[in-house]
């Protein structure tokens, strides 16, 4: 029998703009999570620093390694303040961002993820991420910016799926 994949857990659809959304009480019965974001911003034309926090931890326990292209140059960088860094744009399209979080329910390892972020008018990015905690992930907060002025636009959707091993 085929193994179920992409088991739908929850979707958040914004009926009004918001600075963050949270998936709470994530069940601990699966192996991996997939988060699919279809979003854009209202506020600054290019709102960088889309961020993700686990279990309410906004401390310096995150790191990432990114490679990205802007249409003319191939670039790479690292970050140490957030699990995820990407961009939204109030003047462009709703962007497609996919994040796969491995072994989210394990309590014996740091949490890692692979992401793909896309904004055809600005950049394309692939990145890897670590949360330096062995705690199982029970909540995910997605923040639109770190300055409090850029919001997720109405119609942005955030869908969380589970994958069984």
């Amino acid at each position: 029998m085929p193994t179920p994949t992409y088991i739908p857990l929850q979707t958040i659809t914004l009926g009004s703009s918001a600075s963050s959304v949270t998936f709470a009480s994530i069940p601990q019965t699966y192996r991996d999570l997939v988060l699919v974001m279809f979003s854009k911003s209202v506020g600054s034309p290019t709102a960088a620093n889309l961020k993700i926090w686990f279990n309410g931890d906004t401390g310096s326990n995150y790191s990432n390694l990114r490679m990205y292209g802007n249409g003319s140059s191939a670039l790479s960088g690292t970050g140490s303040t957030t699990f995820f860094e990407s961009w939204l744009d109030s003047t462009a399209e709703f962007t497609a961002t996919n994040i796969q979080i491995m072994d989210y329910s394990a309590a014996d390892k740091h949490k890692t993820a692979l992401t793909r972020a896309n904004l055809s008018s600005l950049q394309v990015q692939a990145s890897t991420h670590r949360w330096a905690s062995t705690s199982a992930i029970s909540s995910i907060e997605i923040e639109s910016s770190d300055n409090g002025t850029d919001l997720f636009a109405v119609g942005s959707t955030f869908s969380l799926y589970a994958i069984e091993a």
């Binding site: 929850q10 958040i12 249409g71 996919n98 904004l119 990015q125 869908s159």
Partner: protein, 170 residues
């Protein structure tokens, strides 16, 4: 995630791979995913996709060649193996299309390689946008030149998200 349709290219190749005729992809899913195993009959490693009919596509790609990395906005959506690549190898691609039935312009995400047992082979990630707001009801995949070679395959999957529930929105 459910399989909607698989197309396998037969003897003699095919100029394109088409999922459904225009109007036939059901709107009952949230997102679509296309998985391609492709090889070209010519020395071309490039391929494009087309939704429905008309519209304009824009793309931003990060490309690795085995010796260098670069970025471009070329009219290429994904990579396939070419006729000079290692025999029996096929390039692999995943194309993710969120909110394909929605009323906004359609963005898509592509991860792609052309398989070749040599130092030169391409791997690419692409951010794409189709500037139309119509629901996507058909998808056509086309190599940059020539045909998809025999045994190339492409599968279209539908992904259904969970319902909106109790959430915290601030």
């Amino acid at each position: 995630m459910q399989s909607i349709q698989t197309v396998t290219v037969g003897s003699g190749g095919a100029a394109s791979i088409e999922f459904m005729a225009v109007g036939e992809i059901p709107d009952t899913y949230t997102d679509l995913k296309v998985v391609v195993s492709g090889r070209c009959s010519t020395t071309d490693t490039t391929a494009t996709l087309a939704f429905n009919t008309g519209g304009t596509y824009t793309r931003r790609t990060l490309l690795g060649s085995g010796s260098a990395a670069s970025s471009n906005t070329s009219a290429v959506d994904f990579r396939i193996s070419q006729s000079g690549d290692t025999p029996s190898t096929f390039g692999n691609s995943e194309i993710y299309i969120p909110n394909y039935a929605g009323s906004t312009t359609k963005s898509y995400s592509v991860d792609s390689i052309n398989e070749n047992n040599a130092t030169a082979a391409f791997q690419a990630i692409t951010a794409g946008l189709w500037n139309q707001t119509a629901a996507i009801t058909s998808i056509v995949l086309t190599p940059g030149s020539g045909n998809f070679a025999e045994h190339s395959t492409a599968t279209l999957y539908g992904i259904l998200a969970g319902s909106d529930g109790t959430t915290t929105v601030t």
